[in-house]
């Protein structure tokens, strides 16, 4: 927390999102400081993914304001192509289902977006990709296809692919939920390092240990609203609401 700079990395201001009549996110506000790691936990269906996806405009909030590193948009009033591109460029995202491109090698998966989005040459992009693959422990996998990699390896490639665009904020949507526990650990290890290096991260997760050890702040969501938020000690040890207490005892006992 001490290294956190003053200007926030992400500001969500009264975000409201509904699908048809179903209100999924109700007027949620959340500020993430630079370098901060925020873990979002809560029962499934509580709107965690939707809130996260509102940050990089994979979902367009019906009302409210989204601000990323100083650039603000109001998705409900329409988003200019230029703003969308700038926003996507500064935010990386890692999905539960990895979403690698299966017809490309690991190296191409990491290099292609750099070439297309940042205009890097093939050589520059490949050099950066190899460096990042090294960092996530997968230098040896560069020339294989995703289907030849374990889930944990695929997820680490997905992290490298997002990092290759030099994002200022990384979003993680249950990055280990599709993995066996031991493969999940490899991914969590990479995320811990990333956090230690000062990356701003918003992580939707069921990994209470990760939230306790790595997050600066834990946010508990239920029914589309923030139920509780604070340091991991506050929230995980002594939740103030009955609802949060019930949810936490269910996940901690698991």
């Amino acid at each position: 927390m001490s290294a956190v700079a003053q200007e926030p990395a992400v500001v969500l201001d009264r975000i409201h999102k509904q699908f048809g009549d179903l209100v999924v996110v109700r007027d949620v506000s959340l500020t993430v400081a630079r370098g901060e790691v925020v873990a979002i936990i809560g029962p499934s269906g509580s709107g965690k993914s939707t809130l996260l996806r509102c940050i990089n405009l994979l979902e367009r909030a019906d009302s409210g304001r989204v601000e990323v590193v100083g650039r603000a948009v109001e998705p409900g009033a329409g988003v200019a192509g230029r703003d969308l591109a700038a926003l996507r460029r500064s935010v990386g995202m890692v999905f539960q289902s990895f979403n690698l491109f299966p017809h490309m090698t690991v190296l191409r998966n990491v290099s292609l977006p750099q070439e297309r989005v940042l205009g890097r040459s093939r050589a520059e992009a490949d050099a950066r990709s190899r460096q990042l693959l090294e960092r996530v422990g997968l230098a040896a996998k560069a020339d294989t296809y995703p289907s030849r990699c374990s889930g944990g390896q695929q997820q680490r490639v997905a992290i490298a692919r997002a990092l290759a665009l030099d994002p200022e904020v990384m979003l993680f949507d249950e990055p280990t939920s599709a993995l066996d526990p031991e493969l999940g650990l490899e991914v969590l290890a990479v995320m811990r390092e990333l956090a230690a290096d000062g990356m701003t991260m918003v992580v939707v997760t069921h990994e209470i240990h990760f939230a306790a050890d790595v997050a600066d702040r834990v946010v508990v969501m239920a029914d589309g609203a923030v139920l509780e938020e604070g340091t991991p000690e506050q929230v995980l040890r002594s939740p103030s609401t009955e609802r949060a207490r019930r949810f936490l005892s269910a996940v901690v006992d698991r």
């Binding site: 990089n56 994979l58 979403n99 690698l100 299966p102 017809h103 665009l165």
Partner: protein, 218 residues
């Protein structure tokens, strides 16, 4: 029996010449029709309504019109609109339209089979819609559609026999003119049939193999 074989030997060069024309027709129709089919498949999910409707209309015309009618229309119909084409060019034009109509549906199925998560990931990475189609969706969609496209190619090869009705000198038309000269229709048609099979059977086996290989990979 030897009499039949001798006759077949005599007819074979002309029939092979016709077969080459049939194969050329097929190749030209596929080379023009499949890219057009791909364009129509992409446009039929365009966000602009007029574009989407125009594409869907073309696809329905291409698919809904029997190939024989399409051939007659292009060859006999277009000249009255001031556009006359040679028989071969008419045949290519008509069969390309039919190919475009059918393959756009096949390709649309392939494109839709590409997981939405990948498109979403590409968007989250900041890739443009166009780049996402070009590098992520189209290459995989075409690969998924490949066995069906190969199956369709065999059908269009068989459909080239219809072009004899607009006097393209392909395999069937060569067989007919030999039949007309010798009155041995059955004998020559059997040989022509064998030549069609000599193409369609290996092509069918290749299609099955491709299908198995791709399903193993995915």
């Amino acid at each position: 029996m030897t009499g039949l074989l001798t006759s077949w030997g005599e007819w074979l060069p002309r029939l092979l010449e016709g077969l080459v024309t049939s194969v050329e027709l097929t190749a030209a129709s596929l080379l023009l029709g499949i890219p057009l089919g791909l364009v129509l498949a992409l446009l039929s999910s365009s966000r602009t309504r007029a574009v989407r409707w125009a594409a869907i209309a073309l696809v329905e015309i291409g698919r809904g019109t029997p190939a024989l009618v399409m051939l007659q229309f292009v060859y006999y119909g277009l000249p009255s609109a001031g556009l006359s084409l040679t028989a071969f060019v008419s045949a290519v034009a008509a069969l390309s339209l039919t190919t475009a109509g059918y393959t756009s549906e096949i390709l649309r199925g392939g494109l839709q089979a590409v997981p939405a998560g990948e498109t979403e990931a590409a968007g989250a990475l900041g890739m443009s819609h166009r780049d996402t189609l070009r590098f992520v969706v189209v290459p995989q969609g075409v690969r998924i559609a490949l066995p069906s496209l190969m199956g369709f190619a065999i059908l269009i090869f068989q459909a080239t026999s219809l072009t004899f009705t607009i006097s393209v000198v392909e395999l069937l038309s060569q067989a007919y003119s030999i039949g007309a000269a010798t009155f041995r229709y059955l004998d020559v048609l059997v040989l022509a049939g064998l030549l069609y099979l000599a193409v369609t059977i290996p092509a069918g086996l290749l299609t099955n193999r491709t299908e198995r290989r791709l399903s193993r990979h995915l």
